[in-house]
């Protein structure tokens, strides 16, 4: 089975976030980066499927040159080779733009299964996988908890709301967006890290007319507001006003 895993590089979770001067993105100039968490689970799922059913795992990523870090990491964890659609403009691109950038080189490859993370830790749109499935003209299923592979089909468990799950059977090729925490991540072994040096990373140019479809107009940090009201008068009178305010304004009694 030929499996693709799409991975995104995001700013490290414990990086103290600061918004950039134009208020359109975080200031990531000297940030450290890591693999988007759900993508790490998607990679692990792909590696496990390969171990059970044989085949190949190909990492696909769209982004600026620095994305090479997470591609190398995926190769070190056990992926066989990689496709990197490289362009500076792909940093902080929207889901549709990333999907479009990945679609052409991925289509050529004729993957049996494409796994992506459910959503990214930075933008959180949960759209890249879904849009990519459309570009590739293959069916998709989202929020996947478990994957069972049969002949020409997959059976997958989706997470619904309120503790409910749904099993879906679909034909392959198919695209699945993977939920975090569904398996146990492996470490990159030191031998794996050294072996990754020799694995192929194919650099691909994005389509010429690739452009953003969405623009972030403004980012802001949620403001915590605190209002203090002082009730004056004699203690009994002030207490009366307080009770009234708790009833009428705060509506807590």
């Amino acid at each position: 089975m030929k499996i693709a895993v799409c991975v995104k590089q995001v700013v490290t979770r414990d990086w103290p976030l600061r918004i950039n001067d134009s208020h359109t993105w975080v200031d990531d100039r000297d940030a450290s980066f890591e693999m988007n968490e759900p993508d790490a689970y998607a990679l692990e799922e792909a590696l496990r499927l390969k171990e059970q059913h044989g085949g190949e795992v190909v990492v696909c990523s769209a982004g600026p040159p620095r994305v090479n870090q997470v591609i190398r990491e995926a190769l070190a964890r056990g992926a066989d080779r990689a496709i990197h659609v490289e362009a500076e403009s792909l940093a902080s691109a929207d889901g549709a733009m990333v999907a479009e950038a990945l679609a052409a080189p991925m289509e050529e490859e004729q993957f049996d299964l494409v796994l992506t993370g459910l959503q990214s830790d930075d933008q959180g749109f949960a759209q890249t996988g879904v849009v990519l499935a459309e570009f590739l003209s293959i069916p998709h299923a989202t929020i996947i908890m478990e994957v069972q592979v049969g002949a020409g089909r997959v059976r997958v468990k989706r997470e619904l709301e309120g503790g409910w799950f749904q099993w879906v059977s679909m034909s392959t090729p198919a695209l699945l967006t993977i939920q975090s925490g569904i398996n146990q991540l492996r470490y990159a072994t030191l031998k794996g890290i050294m072996a990754a040096k020799k694995k192929e990373v194919r650099l691909v140019e994005p389509p010429a007319e690739l452009a953003r479809r969405q623009e972030i107009l403004m980012l802001s940090v949620p403001e915590r507001t605190k209002e203090i009201r002082l009730f004056d008068g004699a203690p009994a009178e002030a207490a009366g006003k307080l009770v009234q305010a708790l009833k009428d304004d705060a509506r807590v009694i």
Partner: protein, 593 residues
């Protein structure tokens, strides 16, 4: 001696004191490769996910769990970074080993299990074992299937390690019978292979490989220790333990070579672990200081706390710079050699014994400072067991005691230099003569320079000259009786430690212009603070040393010479420490990695 070709000029073995190390030629953390970073990430994830959460359980002396953890580390390749692939290792450079050791340093208890296993068992076997011995044991140790321990100390011989009383009696069939009692053996309670030092025929100090199930070998009870409760420390009792002749490690009567080279590397690795422990603790201290509110504001905003965070950062930065510089010297001299040929490694470990001792003292004392201030920043919470600060403080204390006490290491630093000077391998005597002329020449005015670090560079040069002045005078004054002057030698050692630290910091900050421009200003801050304070310490140590040898006019002349060498004006360290502390808080932890 095996010939090694080195690309960079070799300024190890104390040579840095006499030669200029060219800018751009030292190894620094900023020069780690992408693979190094991934190795670091694996080690960090493993320690944070598997080791740190196991601490409580390890402290109940659950050695089964310790074995499982060693085994898992082995599966990932973390036990054999620098062991050849033919023995199950990964065959990497020392920089990789440093990264892994530094991450394990975050865990005091498991760190010492790991440290004894890799540094005190795997390393001597790799360096000194015969092919048969390596075939038999090395793979098992590297995979973590077997655990190793190193049995040198005895109740009556700790620092005086060669004074061990354990006897090895030759048998007619060539085998040996070992009798004696070893003390304070790390991993003693659950190791499978013990490297035991004993006297053959009462005087030939020799290392042996002894398997755990050898009849006559018993394990004493666990010591009740101040710290490292999750690490096994026991006596090992040998009663007529028969050891086949094949299990002599290296040669009969060459046990001191095995012991001392292992200790050299162990000292280096101790500093590496201390560095990892300190940087992690700076992260904890920073987070606590940013969250803890007093008088309506985070304590991190108080100058007294900023001073601590700034100084912790400075000291950690300097030790880290010395470690990577030494790592670079190790890797450069091993480059191009078959890793399976351990000869070059033995030679370079012996050559770098001065640097290894410097690192041991500087690393353990830096860690002590950092963990002490970490407790202080935690206030009352630093004194209770709910926070790791309390345990780390106790766990780290032994770092100044084992792998050679800091007193012994200070003496080694100074006496090794003197010995190499007398042998002519270090040009101390000619340098001291040249200096004598220089300090009596009329002073040349140095022009103030705007180039960053120019002043620090010339101050480091002055530190070197001060070291040479004091060492030269000491050798002249005491001749072959110098060894008896321990206080003087310790002063000299302190000057040398500060000098090596200051120079390593300057070189790293200088290179950061190219390797890490975004961090260079902060590295310059840290370097300037260290050089400034080191100048004060070096002057005080030099005065103590000179006044212990001379008096009257000759002392006055010497002190005048010292003043001419160490002319420097203090810088505003308050401002620089504040900036370092504020950036540390902003980034949520140690800023130079």
């Amino acid at each position: 001696m095996t010939k090694t070709t080195t690309t960079a000029p070799n300024t190890g073995g104390g040579m840095w004191l006499f030669e200029d190390t060219t800018s751009g030629s030292v190894f620094t953390p900023e020069r780690l490769s992408d693979e190094h970073k991934l190795i670091d990430q694996t080690a960090d994830e493993f320690v944070r996910n598997e080791i740190l959460p196991s601490h409580g359980q390890l402290e109940t002396k659950d050695w089964k769990l310790a074995r499982v953890l060693v085994n898992r580390a082995g599966e990932l390749g973390l036990l054999g970074t620098d062991v050849p692939e033919q023995y199950g290792g990964v065959g990497l450079d020392k920089a990789s080993t440093v990264l892994v050791g530094s991450r394990f340093g975050q865990s005091g208890s498991f760190g010492s299990t790991f440290g004894a296993h890799t540094g005190l068992a795997i390393l001597p076997l790799h360096c000194f074992g015969s092919d048969t011995q390596k075939d038999k044991y090395l793979g098992r140790l590297v995979s973590g299937e077997w655990i190793g321990a190193y049995c040198l100390s005895e109740s009556s011989s700790g620092s005086d390690a060669l004074g061990a009383k354990t006897r090895a009696t030759r048998e007619p069939d060539g085998s040996f019978v070992l009798t004696g009692e070893k003390m304070w053996i790390t991993n003693g309670g659950f190791a499978d292979l013990y490297i035991v030092f004993a006297q053959v025929d009462g005087e030939q100090f020799t290392a042996f490989l002894v398997e755990r199930n050898s009849p006559g070998l018993t394990i004493g009870r666990e010591e009740h220790k101040m710290g490292l409760h999750g690490s096994s420390t026991t006596p090992i009792i040998l009663q007529d333990v028969r050891v086949p002749s094949d299990n002599v490690l290296h040669h009969i009567s060459k046990g001191h070579k095995v012991a001392f080279n292992t200790l050299n590397y162990g000292r280096f690795k101790l500093a590496v672990a201390a560095s990892g422990n300190a940087t992690a603790a700076i992260g904890e201290a920073t987070k606590y200081a940013a969250e803890r509110q007093q008088f309506g504001q985070p304590i991190a905003t108080f100058g007294a706390i900023k001073h601590k965070l700034g100084e912790m950062t400075v000291r950690a930065y300097v030790v880290e710079s010395m470690i990577y510089r030494t790592t670079g010297l190790l890797d450069a001299s091993l480059k191009g050699n078959e890793i399976a040929d351990a000869g070059p490694l033995r030679n370079i470990l012996e050559e770098l014994s001065i640097e290894c001792s410097i690192l041991k003292v500087a690393g353990s004392e830096m860690l002590h400072y950092v963990l002490d201030e970490n407790v202080q920043i935690h206030g009352g919470n630093g004194f209770v067991k709910d926070y790791p600060a309390e345990r780390q403080y106790r766990d780290s204390r032994v770092n100044r005691i084992f792998e050679g006490t800091n007193e012994i290491n200070r003496l080694l630093i100074a006496t090794t230099l003197v010995r190499r000077a007398l042998k002519g391998t270090l040009p101390l005597i000619s340098a001291a003569k040249r200096l004598e002329d220089e300090v009596t020449d009329p002073p040349t005015l140095v022009e103030a320079s705007e180039v960053p670090l120019a002043e620090q560079r010339s101050t480091v040069l002055a530190f070197k000259k001060t070291s040479i002045l004091v060492l030269g005078l000491s050798m002249m004054h005491y001749g072959d009786k110098l060894g008896e002057q321990q206080e003087l030698l310790s002063c000299v050692a302190d000057i040398l430690i500060d000098t090596f630290g200051a120079e390593s910091a300057v070189l790293r900050a200088d290179q950061a212009a190219i390797d890490a421009p975004q961090n260079q200003l902060l590295q310059i801050d840290a370097t300037c603070v260290f050089v400034n304070d080191a100048a004060g310490r070096i002057e005080a140590n030099a005065r103590t040393a000179l006044a212990s040898m001379s008096d009257g006019d000759s002392l006055r002349l010497q002190l005048a010479a010292l003043r001419r060498l160490l002319r420097f004006s203090p810088i505003n360290t308050v401002e620089k420490r504040r900036r370092l502390a504020e950036t540390t808080v902003e980034r949520g932890g140690y800023i130079f990695r």
